[in-house]
């Protein structure tokens, strides 16, 4: 179903972090941008569609005016808003936002240092663009920061801090469904496996809370009102976001899931785990039962590699890319 293409070499190997691959498809310029985090650096590479040009860039985590320890980056992700695309980088020190080519930093938000010295340092993790103009970022305390992003310029402001989680945020995902009432705009996941479902707006409101089973939900996606969640047990669960009804449960992987992605137009789902496997599934809405179904399509094994990022390169799922711990390349697959 898919065949392996020529890999893209990156300057450093990818670190073992959840959802460690960012992809942005820029059709007008016929290129795709990829990002992979290595410790305190984001490796960016822009690949032209004809396979002839690759340009690399590295972004360092920054902590202005604070010359202390290196700050490890937890995640880097592209946020595609209707008016602009931004690259958001979250670290132990704070949140940086760049123009999507990584050329200019347009915003920096420092995280507060915690009062209590817990076993986990403070960090930000979990990034999602939401609706017209929001970018949401999760924090290790469980809080979610909501940033208001103007259509251009650097006048980005922290609009809200929403509390719904008590444990560290792991991942967030959104889906924009127009102005329908009671349709979920954002789902957030935490280290206890809990999911929160939100409606965006001037004030974000909590639509539902789906409890976990003390196992991290490391990756979550939203598709047609379904929260697709991947867990440390290797399971994938499909929940109807607003009601919390469990529609399907898959014993998908033998180890911790690190990354999920959905191709919205086709309903293809990608799951990748520490067991070295990437699996492709098909989500479909059953018209009779109005519930989502899942079927398995394809497996790819990346030998001896614990995969940390897997994403489709386009909304149909025609191609996808994969990163692995200690791997200095982005592996690509296209439908054959």
């Amino acid at each position: 179903m898919y065949r392996k293409e020529k890999s893209i070499q990156i300057k450093n190997s990818a670190s073992a972090l959840y959802n460690n691959l960012g992809v942005l498809r820029i059709a007008p310029r016929r290129l795709t941008c990829f990002t992979a985090v290595h410790a305190n650096v984001v490796n960016m590479v822009s690949a032209s569609w004809d396979g002839l040009n690759y340009s690399h860039r590295q972004l360092q985590s920054k902590e202005p005016n604070v010359a202390t320890s290196t700050s490890l980056i937890m995640q880097a992700a592209f946020c595609a808003l209707p008016s602009r695309d931004l690259l958001v980088v979250t670290s132990q020190k704070g949140i940086q936002m760049y123009e999507s080519d990584g050329s200019t930093m347009v915003y920096w938000h420092a995280l507060d240092t915690p009062e209590t010295n817990t076993g986990q340092g403070m960090f930000a993790r979990g990034i999602s663009a939401v609706c017209e103009s929001f970018i949401c970022v999760g924090v290790s305390t469980g809080a979610i920061l909501v940033f208001d992003v103007p259509s251009k310029g650097s006048n980005i402001t922290l609009a809200d801090v929403i509390e719904g989680h008590k444990e560290s945020i792991t991942d967030m995902a959104s889906e924009c469904c127009g102005g329908e009432v009671c349709v979920a705009d954002l789902v957030s996941a935490d280290d206890g496996g809990n999911l929160c479902v939100w409606k965006a707006g001037e004030e974000f409101s909590l639509l539902n809370h789906i409890p976990g089973f003390d196992i991290s939900c490391s990756s979550v996606k939203l598709w047609k009102g379904t929260a697709v969640a991947g867990y440390g047990t290797g399971q994938i669960r499909l929940y109807e976001a607003v009601t919390g009804i469990l529609h399907a449960e898959v014993n998908a992987h033998a180890r911790w899931i690190y990354s999920l992605d959905v191709a919205p137009f086709s309903g293809l789902l990608l799951s990748a785990a520490e067991d070295s496997l990437v699996r492709v599934w098909l989500l479909s809405m059953s018209p009779e039962s109005h519930s989502v179904e899942i079927g398995h399509l394809h497996n790819e094994c990346v030998t001896d590699t614990q995969i940390c990022g897997a994403k489709f390169c386009d909304s149909d799922g025609y191609a996808f890319a994969v990163t692995g711990y200690d791997l200095s390349e982005i592996i690509r697959y296209t439908q054959s």
Partner: protein, 378 residues
């Protein structure tokens, strides 16, 4: 990232160090007395209350440079003296063994079982010295107390922190190559077969539910692997069957030649932490050295020198490309002479700290700069 890595790092790396030292001491026909004294002295220093208390404070993981300096000092609390070259190779071996254990750990919290495997064997090494056995037990209890209640998500963060620390190290270890746990390119083998970890279901099943929660359909999918049910979970108490074998002593006393290492071709090594980090690292170093039982290095009775890896010149099997092969694996940028100076300097500072007193928050800038200069590659 996790602030609880240091105790596990030291116990596991220290444990590997002791395994290798033990094997080499036997292989070199060292006297029973000397061997036992070496092991007991090092274990005594490593598991001393002060040292462990320092490690157990929540703090971040620093660079290989710091760890190697402290581990060298630990090794030198015994009457044994290691050559710089030996220490370098020893460190590479220790780190690769630890990387193998962290990488292949079935579940993040099994890192504790790996740690307990090390502690169990260390206890055997010093079993004839009850005082030190007590220290080991005390430390073990403290570790159980601190780590047992950590949720799995935090363990995974701890593991991810360790994996970043161990990233890009692909030194080939002949014992691993021989056992096929490591490939010729330096990467560890990951099998898609065997038992799944406890708590995980064997992959392959899809279940669908109706709106009332009743299962309406189930199906199977091809997993591309051959997984089996989990075996029992290991014991997380002070004593017990750990079940997993990672962290056990793999160095057979009968085949000492199996511990040689070779560097992989053209591995680009990122330079270690920038100088900005140095001040905090030096603070940590000072605290750790200060809390170590400082044997008087200068006038030990009959310290004996040991060259652990006799094959210093001939590095074994693969890749003897001589001059062309750069030291592509830069664990630490300290020259031999400066290392001794640094250790002595730090030992002097260590001597200034009386037990139990609060250590000065930071060294004065001047002293910090001196130490920094000593530790830097010129």
């Amino acid at each position: 990232m996790s602030l609880r890595t240091l105790p596990l790092v030291f116990i596991n790396l220290g444990g590997e160090m002791l395994y290798i030292l033990d094997q080499r001491l036997q292989a070199l026909n060292t006297s029973e007395d000397n061997s036992e004294k070496v092991m007991t002295d090092i274990v005594g220093a490593m598991f001393s209350k002060d040292f462990m208390d320092e490690l157990l404070k929540p703090q971040q993981l620093y660079s290989h440079r710091t760890l190697k300096t402290v581990l060298t000092r630990l090794a030198h609390t015994s009457i044994m003296r290691l050559s710089q070259a030996s220490m370098d190779k020893l460190y590479e071996l220790m780190v690769m063994a630890f990387k193998y254990q962290v990488f292949l750990c079935p579940r993040p919290k099994d890192l504790l079982l790996v740690t307990y495997n090390h502690i169990d064997t260390i206890r055997e090494f010093v079993q004839h010295t009850p005082v030190v056995v007590n220290q080991v037990d005390e430390t073990h209890r403290k570790v159980i107390e601190v780590y047992s209640s950590l949720p799995e998500g935090e363990f995974q963060l701890l593991r991810q922190t360790l994996l970043i620390f161990l990233q890009d190290l692909h030194v080939r270890v002949s014992l691993f190559l021989k056992n096929k746990v490591q490939n010729p390119n330096g990467r560890f083998a990951l099998l898609s077969s065997g038992p799944v970890p406890p708590g995980i279901d064997v992959p392959g099943l899809i279940r669908m539910f109706d709106r009332k929660g009743r299962e309406v359909r189930r199906g199977e999918f091809p997993t591309g692997g051959s997984y089996t049910s989990p075996i029992r979970e290991g014991c997380f108490e002070l004593h017990g069957d750990r079940v997993i074998r990672l962290g056990m002593n793999i160095y057979s006393r009968n085949h000492p030649e199996e511990t040689y290492i070779s560097k992989p071709p053209s591995v680009k090594q990122k330079d270690d932490a920038p100088n900005l980090l140095a001040k905090e690292e030096l603070n940590l170093l000072a605290r750790l050295m200060g809390s170590m039982k400082a044997e008087d290095m200068a006038e030990t009775e009959t310290g004996f020198r040991i060259n652990l890896f006799m094959t210093d010149g001939e590095e074994g099997g693969t890749g003897t490309s001589g001059g062309a092969e750069q030291s592509s694996f830069e664990v630490i940028n300290i020259q031999a002479i400066q290392d001794e100076q640094a250790a002595t300097q730090l030992a002097r500072i260590a001597g200034q700290f009386t037990e139990g007193d609060k250590l000065p928050e930071s060294l004065s800038t001047n002293k910090g700069a001196d130490l920094l200069a000593l530790m830097d590659d010129l």
